[in-house]
């Protein structure tokens, strides 16, 4: 047995005393001195917790025994050997990085000539989310879906991590040594060196290339943008005598005529911003623009048209010149020396619509603009240039630009290569082996070039033909600058290079030095020196980096229009007639020219029109499909000359008869994601730059069998249901509610109480174009997993926000509406009642929240959701991911495992962030302070989020608008999202226009 210490001995007067009371021996002090523990720390505290008799207490022995047992069991539990990494604190914490706090950097990127100034959010040093730069006067905080998704490319596991020579990984010293040696010998021998890069939108890069050319006079540089539209380049050369960049300025446009121009497809945040501003009407008295669209394929712009007429692209030139002729006849002055004698009258547009169009353009005058799609033939572009000049349009900015190499220039380079003209070829961020239409000729010619170097990020078709591969940094790891109207934009790295990579400019600087020229040590120094020379005194380079830009006056003057070019174009337009089927090759919504094909976010973002993912089916008009007996998903053979592609077909309502549409940028043969997705359409591209993307005489035949399409929407009609409301301006003025009557909603349940906030959202369908930037923004913000084509085909895509697209009316030219659909955060949510484990419930600020940890996955909630916005992890979509893929995850959002339901959270992490900040500053939340990712990403500001309890908030005011309605309101779920009815602005006499579509 154990020896026990004797209890406290008899009380004696203490020799030492702790308090005065103890010294003078008050009874309380005596009692206190007797007790071992001070009040609250004694066994009594245990007793309250454990309910043990006060006298018995918990002995120290027992306590220690329990502690050891706890420790031992805790150790057992901790013996989990699942190979979790070691967590170590920073030994030396980087100054910039505070764990848990996001850093934001201003930077920029470009796609072709279009520049995207962005704000990059980084967490623990990792860039994780992009938005537009809010300081930029043009983009105003918005950017394009492809730019938003480009952060994923930074963490592409396929990225080349170190230089390669002849297929083996090696050092920079070796590859640069080889490159420099070849450059030096070409310089001395006078042999030509070919450098192909993308469009040069950066002044500093342009200067560096000029320096390079000076150091190596035999350099031949081509700026190659395979999907930019060679016809536009050709037309610019004809109309203005030089390359131009044409940007719409929709803020000034009252009447817009699109000749197949898809300016609302999300690529141009500035145009979308201006469009939204003109369409978000508070009352019918507000001014609204009118969009006329004449086009062959159905584009997003076409779906947003007030009047759309399907016209074959080959006839657009003739139609546009006929328009010019008619306007001239009505008294609109032609530029001096214009010869329109070859233009004849047109019959593609119905007479009444035509008369209205002519009247509209004439009335609007300087406030009218004609925009031509890059894929349309050159003569249509020239006609648009003429029309804009005639109208004196202020709604378009035409600027001189760096010329782009067309397919003809590439062909010339191939001929020269084959002739042994070049000693070396350097491919910088381009993939001509994939994009050049004659891939075989390219391969044979390139083999004749003795030295081939490739600078890029992910090995591709071109790198496979090169000896030396120089891994390039992602733009988020690189320096750069761009000039945009209104601002000079800076690009700065937001993270140190992840791998042993360098940016292309640094490679060029190294080459410059090797060639004996004086050069800066780094592109950063080069850039900084250039900027410091030209910076205004009021600002500094550091400030410019902080802002991401320096605002400058837009002084560029438009090049003058060459009237003499019209006659030939009009003549050409008059004779061009489609023979059989004509094929329009458009840049892929997700892939562009193939450079984004390895981006799984983009591959899974549904095409805004066809709702296809992971594929490029050929779109066939309804009439042609009927004639050829083609049904949705049928395999077809598309042939032109000797080239035949086997593709699935989709039926495209609204597409002009005789027109086929096919997206470029698919069918890559390299890349973990890109390989084998779709078919490569570049071989079908024409070698005539004036109509490069428009191919005549294509044959289409059924190939037998049917493909299960990876399509996110398979039913395209609204079935007469009141889901998307659409008003004409006339209806908006007189009867905005139409025949919709809301029945009184009766409920047995008590209404939800919202003591502080009630978050709500308003989506303006008139401003929403369907561009899908919100989808990508949400994917990036909320770690939405990608499931792949097979799972999409099964219907298991995971997007928290989707864009529903419905066709109405006749199939030949339907009315099209778009509706962003996300969790409606219903006050009486049908999903909440039915969850047996309370995994989904309502927050006191109006959020329908998901407790992923609690979800067991009965899927009852999803069945009972009338909007079908809940997404179930049918399989394990995330756990197998490792670095670098996981680095793109937003640490504020849980990654969901298999078997768990998930859905839009109204970006609860952002709400919490703002709440905490406001609390810290001792204030209430400002209206507009909380932004959801979709709202922040929406270029046309169609989405407004805020507190419905605050009557002054923007969202609360919009809820009361006359266009406001809720989807499926009659079910009584009380959704927190209000939609504002779509608006169409057809000409007043539109009801009688035959062929004009949107006059319902």
């Amino acid at each position: 047995m154990k020896t026990r210490l004797p209890e406290h001995g008899p009380l004696e007067t203490p020799r030492f005393w702790r308090t005065l009371e103890e010294r003078i021996e008050t009874p309380e002090a005596q009692a206190a001195a007797h007790d071992e523990f001070l009040p609250g720390a004694g066994p009594g505290a245990f007793d309250d917790v454990h309910g043990l008799p006060v006298q018995s207490g918990f002995s120290r022995r027992d306590f220690l025994g329990l502690v050891s047992a706890t420790a031992a069991l805790a150790a057992t539990v901790a013996c989990d050997r699942k190979g979790q990494g070691t967590v170590v604190p920073y030994t030396k914490r980087p100054v910039e990085v505070v764990p848990g706090v996001a850093n934001y950097y201003a930077s920029a990127t470009h796609e072709g000539r279009r520049v995207y100034p962005v704000l990059v959010k980084t967490r623990e040093g990792r860039p994780i989310h992009l938005t537009g730069n809010d300081e930029h006067p043009g983009v105003k905080g918005k950017t394009s879906p492809r730019t938003l998704a480009d952060v994923l490319r930074l963490y592409d596991p396929d990225r080349l991590r170190a230089p390669k020579a002849e297929g083996r990984t090696t050092s920079w010293t070796e590859v640069e040594g080889q490159l420099h040696g070849v450059l030096r010998s070409s310089k001395s021998s006078g042999k030509a060196v070919l450098l192909i890069s993308p469009a040069v939108a950066s002044p500093s890069r342009k200067a560096l290339l000029a320096d390079f050319k000076a150091a190596l006079p035999t350099l031949e540089h081509l700026a190659y943008e395979p999907a930019a539209g060679d016809a536009a380049e050709e037309a610019a050369k004809a109309s203005f005598g030089q390359a131009v960049d044409i940007q719409p300025r929709l803020a000034k446009a009252k009447v817009i005529l699109s000749l197949g121009a898809d300016f609302l497809n999300g690529e141009d945040p500035e145009a979308l911003g201006a469009w939204g501003a003109q369409r978000r009407l508070k009352s019918a008295k507000d001014s609204i623009n009118r969009l006329w669209v004449l086009e062959g394929p159905l584009t997003l712009t076409g779906t947003n048209a007030d009047v759309r007429v399907p016209v074959s692209p080959s006839r657009l030139g003739a139609v546009a010149f006929a328009l010019a002729k008619e306007l001239a006849a009505k008294g609109v002055a032609l530029p001096a020396g214009t010869d329109l004698s070859a233009a004849s009258s047109q019959d593609a547009v119905p007479a009444k619509a035509w008369a209205n169009l002519v009247k509209d353009l004439q009335h609007a005058g300087r406030n009218a603009v004609v925009l031509c799609g890059a894929q349309m033939p050159a003569e249509a572009h020239q006609a648009a240039h003429l029309l804009n000049t005639m109208l004196g349009s202020e709604a378009v900015a035409t600027r001189a630009a760096e010329p782009l190499a067309t397919v003809k220039d590439l062909e010339a380079a191939v001929t020269a290569m084959a002739a042994g003209h070049y000693a070396a070829a350097i491919f910088w961020d381009v993939n001509p082996a994939f994009t050049f239409p004659k891939a075989q000729a390219w391969k044979q010619a390139l083999a004749k070039v003795p030295f081939r170097a490739w600078i890029g990020q992910v090995e591709d078709e071109t790198s496979a033909q090169c000896q030396v591969l120089l891994p390039e940094s992602h733009w988020l790891e690189s320096w750069g600058d761009f000039s945009t109207p209104g601002a000079a934009v800076l690009q700065q790295p937001t993270v140190g290079t992840l791998y042993d990579t360098r940016q292309g400019e640094d490679i060029l600087l190294g080459a410059l030095k090797a060639l004996g020229a004086s050069a800066s040590d780094s592109y950063h120094a080069y850039l900084k020196a250039r900027w410091q020379k030209s910076l205004p005194a009021t600002t500094s380079f550091e400030q410019a980096l902080h802002d991401g830009l320096v605002k400058v006056e837009d002084k560029a003057s438009a090049p003058s229009f060459k009237a003499a070019s019209v006659a030939a174009a009009a003549k050409k337009a008059a004779v061009s007639r489609a023979g059989g089927l004509e094929l329009v090759l458009v840049p892929g919504f997700a892939t562009h020219d193939g450079r984004h094909a390895n981006n799984s976010w983009l591959q899974e973002t549904p095409d805004p029109i066809s709702k296809m993912t992971w594929d490029n089916p050929v779109a066939v008009s309804v009439q042609d499909a009927q004639a050829l007996g083609i049904q949705e998903g049928d395999w077809v053979n598309l042939s032109l000359g000797d080239t035949t592609l086997r593709l699935p077909a989709v039926l495209q309502p609204g597409q002009a008869k005789g027109v086929l549409t096919l997206a470029l940028g698919y069918g890559r043969s390299t890349g973990g994601v890109a390989k084998g997705v779709g078919a490569n359409a570049f071989p079908l591209m024409s070698l005539d730059p004036a109509s490069a993307n428009l191919v005549q005489g294509v044959r289409l035949a059924k190939a037998g069998g049917r493909k299960e399409l990876s399509r996110t929407q398979s039913h395209h009609r609204m079935e007469g249901r009141d889901i998307v409301r659409s008003l004409t301006m006339d209806e908006f003025e007189h009867n905005p509610k139409g025949h919709h009557h809301m029945p009184e909603l009766v409920t047995l349940y008590e209404d939800q109480k919202f003591p502080d906030h009630k978050w709500g959202m308003v989506i303006d369908l008139a401003a929403c174009t369907g561009c899908s930037a919100c989808v990508v923004a949400c994917q990036s913000e909320n770690n939405v997993p990608v499931v792949g084509p097979e799972q999409v085909a099964r219907g298991r895509e995971m997007h928290w926000i989707r864009i529903d697209r419905y066709y109405e009316g006749e199939l030949e030219n339907p009315k099209v509406v778009h509706q962003p659909m996300l969790c409606q955060h219903c006050d009486s949510a049908p999903c909440e009642n039915v969850c047996p484990v309370n995994a989904t419930n309502h927050s006191p600020d109006g959020l329908n929240q998901m407790a992923y940890n609690r979800c067991v996955g009965t899927r009852y909630c999803a069945n009972n959701c009338p909007y079908k916005v809940r997404r179930f992890n049918f399989l394990e979509y995330t756990a197998y991911k490792t670095e670098p893929e996981t680095l793109v995850n937003n640490p504020e959002v849980t990654v969901r495992p298999r078997g768990v339901m998930e859905k839009c959270s109204f970006c609860v992490q952002r709400i919490q962030d703002v709440k905490i900040r406001a609390k810290g500053e001792g204030r209430s939340i400002f209206d507009g302070e909380v932004t959801t990712a979709c709202m922040a990403g929406c270029p046309s500001d169609a989405i407004v989020f805020g507190d419905l309890k605050d009557p002054k908030s923007k969202v609360a005011q919009l809820v009361a608008a006359s266009r406001a309605y809720k989807v499926l309101e009659e079910l009584g779920a009380k959704p927190a999202i209000t939609y504002l009815a779509d608006l169409k602005n057809p000409p007043v006499s539109a009801a009688s226009i035959e062929g004009g579509s949107h006059a319902h």
Partner: protein, 63 residues
């Protein structure tokens, strides 16, 4: 305090669980002590973690 009735059940449970576990762990650590002439098993390839470094010369907007 000292004469409070002990709770043998607690102690017994403690001894029952912790004792064998701790002893067993000790025993195992003796048997499988590192440095023994166990066949040099190739160490599992370390999970490759990327080093994230902050960008040089960049100026952040906020954060």
């Amino acid at each position: 305090m000292a004469d409070t009735p002990r709770k043998p059940i607690v102690e017994r449970a403690t001894a029952l669980l912790a004792g064998p576990f701790l002893l067993g762990q000790r025993a195992l650590s003796v048997v499988f002590a590192p440095g023994q002439d166990a066949p040099a098993e190739a160490p599992a390839p370390a999970v490759s973690r990327l080093t994230i470094t902050p960008p040089e010369h960049a100026i952040k907007r906020r954060g």
